[in-house]
């Protein structure tokens, strides 16, 4: 073996330890970087030098490649669980808001309804007192205001949810664009070069965000390109290309109400309807809350308002076979043919509002103490006349119906909160495991640093020894 080989081996040691130290240094620098996967320099012994006959000795060390420590299986599990997590997160947060509004709005409505019936009861006791008719009128106006206010708050919440949906769609498009760009850069690296670990980490982070927002399916091709599909809708990202999600507002039922935001995937073949195809992720959660919870709450409120108006009107109209002035038709509330929008449109008959003496209290004319109509209307408080839906036999009183709307939301919120907490724990565990595999440990890196530093120092010493050996030989001359 030539002495210069000792120097060469020493040099390879110095370079390898230096490179390993560089990887350690990079790990330490990225200890707090989101989605960063730690790297490890893979050191390979150089092949034996056979220049000196049968005796083979090592040729030093090389850094084979830098490995990205990453568990693809866990990553896939994280993506899967993120879909449900994103959906539950959006759903729980929205339900919390709906519950707040429904609780205050509907509890207040229930109190207004109690006041309405209570005033009719007092009127039934003192039917000849004009002041009590005014009180009944005021409580009826209060009640209609309560219905309108609650319906309006829920409508606003639906619009707010639409805004959140639109903002999330913008975010999805940004992420899809970023992902397509990362795909382009990753596949652009020549095959003989080190894979771009940092870009792959970033891409994993982007797809994790996308999965939380949208719930997507991920696949890879042979060139390590990540393709993203929205199941049931279409391709979002394919290689360096991406399709944009877009929003469009459907027409509202009238001038007072705007329609919902619908989602479309813009592909080369045109616009693909996507609203129903997104059950998961934050978007799925928001759409579910908007199209199921808020809509069904509003429908229930409309049904309650409509049943109530209809029943009061039936009684009031039944007593109106008297001489009416003007165009007063005998209804207590302005007639609504259909339950749709009844809560928002609920209004006391204009003639009664102007002149509360037109409020019917009894069936006989010229009989001021005839309180039978007032009693019947007051008795509605205990009457199970509100049906849960068409063809549903189970009926409830006005207050029971109002309370059941709150209860339904409360149960959904309670359940969603529990499942969300549970899902959060599952995702936490997976992410924790992922961090346990891929995250940087400063202690570990400190030890590595000492290890590489010691090896570096030792390699330098072997070179120093080789140099001295060479000098000894030269001095012989």
């Amino acid at each position: 073996m030539a002495i210069d080989n000792i120097l060469e081996i020493g040099r390879s040691g110095l370079l390898a330890q230096q490179e390993a130290m560089q990887t350690t240094s990079n790990n330490i620098s990225n200890v707090n970087t989101k989605n960063y996967s730690r790297q490890r320099a893979e050191l390979n012994a150089r092949g034996a030098n056979t220049n000196f006959g049968w005796r083979a000795s090592g040729g030093g060390v090389d850094v084979g490649r830098t490995i990205r420590i990453h568990d693809q299986f866990i990553q896939r599990q994280v993506l899967e669980e993120s879909k449900a997590f994103g959906s539950l997160k959006a759903r729980t947060e929205s339900l919390d808001r709906i519950e707040g509004i429904a609780h205050h709005g509907l509890t207040d409505l229930s109190e207004r309804a109690n006041e309405f019936f209570s005033n009719f009861r007092e009127l039934s006791l003192n039917p000849e007192l004009p002041a009590l008719r005014v009180a009944v009128k005021e409580s009826a106006v209060n009640l209609t205001d309560g219905f309108r206010k609650t319906a309006d708050s829920l409508e606003n919440l639906r619009n707010e949810t639409d805004l959140r949906i639109a903002a999330t769609v913008d975010e999805v498009n940004l992420r899809a664009q970023e992902l397509a760009e990362l795909n382009r850069r990753i596949t652009g690296v020549p095959a003989n070069q080190e894979p771009p670990h940092e870009l792959m980490d970033r891409r994993d982070g982007v797809v994790a965000d996308l999965s939380k927002m949208l719930g997507v399916s991920v696949s890879y091709d042979e060139r390590n390109t990540m393709n993203i599909v929205i199941p049931g809708v279409g391709i979002l990202v394919h290689g360096a290309e991406f399709n944009e999600l877009s929003t469009s507002r459907t027409p509202g039922k009238d001038a007072d109400h705007s329609g919902n935001i619908d989602l479309f995937l813009k592909t080369s073949g045109g616009f693909q309807y996507a609203t129903r195809g997104i059950p998961e992720g934050e978007l799925g959660g928001l759409l579910k809350v908007r199209d199921e919870t808020i809509t069904s709450t509003l429908e229930s409120l409309d049904r309650v308002a409509h049943s109530f108006m209809k029943k009061v009107n039936e009684i009031h109209r039944g007593a109106s076979g008297l001489d009416w002035d003007s165009d007063f038709a005998g209804d207590f509330f302005e007639t609504q043919e259909s339950p749709e929008g009844a809560a928002f449109a609920m209004k006391l008959n204009g003639a009664l509002e102007k002149d509360p003496s037109l409020i019917m209290i009894g069936y006989e004319s010229d009989a001021p103490s005839d309180n039978r109509v007032a009693l019947e209307i007051a008795g509605l408080q205990d009457d199970r006349f509100v049906f849960e839906g068409e063809g549903v036999n189970k009926a409830s009183t006005l207050n029971e119906s109002i309370n059941s709307i709150i209860s339904a939301i409360a149960s959904q919120t309670h359940g969603s909160r529990q499942i969300f907490a549970h899902q959060g724990e599952i995702l936490d565990q997976l992410e924790n495991y992922q961090k346990s595999v891929s995250g940087v440990s400063l202690e570990e890196e400190a030890v590595n640093m000492m290890q590489y530093q010691a090896a570096f120092n030792a390699a330098a010493k072997t070179m120093h020894a080789g140099d001295e050996m060479l000098e000894t030989i030269l001095n012989l001359v």
């Binding site: 229930s110 205990d382 149960s411 346990s436 400063l442």
Partner: protein
């Protein structure tokens, strides 16, 4: 042995502090409101039951108020019949005392009977607020005219005393005074008029014919007063049961909604201690352990 990365230490510290802070915040809210159920979703079933009881309580409050008012109406009505009974008994005595006496005695009796008759008509037209008590639904006019003719109608004014249960709060003047539709009943004002006529004409027979009718009238009025008393008793019973139910319902609401102060404050102390311990632990782990020691 699982590997622990540095970011996990920070994440764990952050999430432990968050969880402890969250628990402490929930308990603080309970302590500050002393409510177990702050939002319906805290306990949907408990909230629904509490709300149902609150609604019942609210209805009961209105019914109680109405019942108390109805009692006043019945008391005023009972006064009418008490006065009428007194008057009937007095004229009966006057008739008895004067039937076989001279014209001068009868004239004096006649004068008093006529005055009593006016008082009776006045009493029968007594009002409660703007309502004539015996006029039925037609309560804005006197129930009887000076001739004792009934001007009202047979309307029965009812109020809801208990949920779905009504009670009449007026007495039908036509039946109670004019005896219409009542077997064995007499028209009290007509009896009065007959006595007046008898006293005027000195017709012993006519005067004498009123005596059994006055006895019937007293019995007729007494039975009406008994009926009023029975209704008042029923109202009193219901009011008293309302009071008891109200206490029970309020207790039930408190049990469902209100937090046990001892438990809440013990929990608060526990959660505050837990939060402090979490913060101390996080501080210790993040500042007093390697890698600082390794990097020295």
């Amino acid at each position: 042995m699982p590997r622990i990365s540095t970011i996990q230490l920070y994440d764990r510290a952050t999430s432990s502090i968050g969880e402890s802070r969250d628990r402490e915040s929930i308990t603080s809210q309970k302590a500050s409101t002393l409510k177990e159920i702050v939002r319906p979703s805290d306990d949907p079933r408990g909230w629904a039951v509490a709300q149902q009881i609150k609604d019942e309580l609210s209805i009961q409050d209105t019914l109680s108020r109405n019942a108390a008012l109805a009692r006043h109406v019945l008391t005023a009505t009972e006064d009418i019949f008490k006065q009428a009974t007194d008057h009937v008994e007095r004229v009966y005595e006057l008739g008895l005392a004067s039937i076989y006496k001279g014209q001068d005695v009868r004239t004096a009796a006649l004068q008093e009977v006529e005055e009593v008759y006016e008082s009776v008509i006045h009493a029968l037209n007594a009002r409660y607020g703007s309502r004539t008590l015996l006029g039925g639904f037609k309560s804005d006019k006197p129930a009887f005219n000076a001739d004792g003719e009934f001007l009202g109608d047979g309307g029965s004014i009812e109020i809801e005393l208990e949920r779905g249960q009504r009670i009449p709060i007026n007495i039908n003047g036509k039946a109670a005074i004019s005896g219409s539709g009542q077997s064995g009943a007499v028209n009290i004002t007509e009896v009065f008029q007959r006595l007046i006529e008898g006293l005027k004409s000195g017709d012993h027979e006519l005067i004498g014919s009123t005596f059994p009718d006055f006895q019937k009238a007293v019995s007729q009025l007494t039975s009406v007063r008994t009926e009023i008393g029975a209704r008042m008793n029923r109202i009193d019973r219901v009011l008293s049961s309302y009071e008891m139910e109200s206490v029970e319902r309020k207790e039930a609401i408190a049990e469902l909604e209100e937090a046990d102060p001892v438990k809440v404050f013990t929990d608060l102390a526990r959660d505050q201690t837990a939060l402090k311990a979490t913060l101390d632990t996080a501080h210790k782990i993040l500042t007093e352990v390697p890698p600082d020691k390794l990097f020295r």
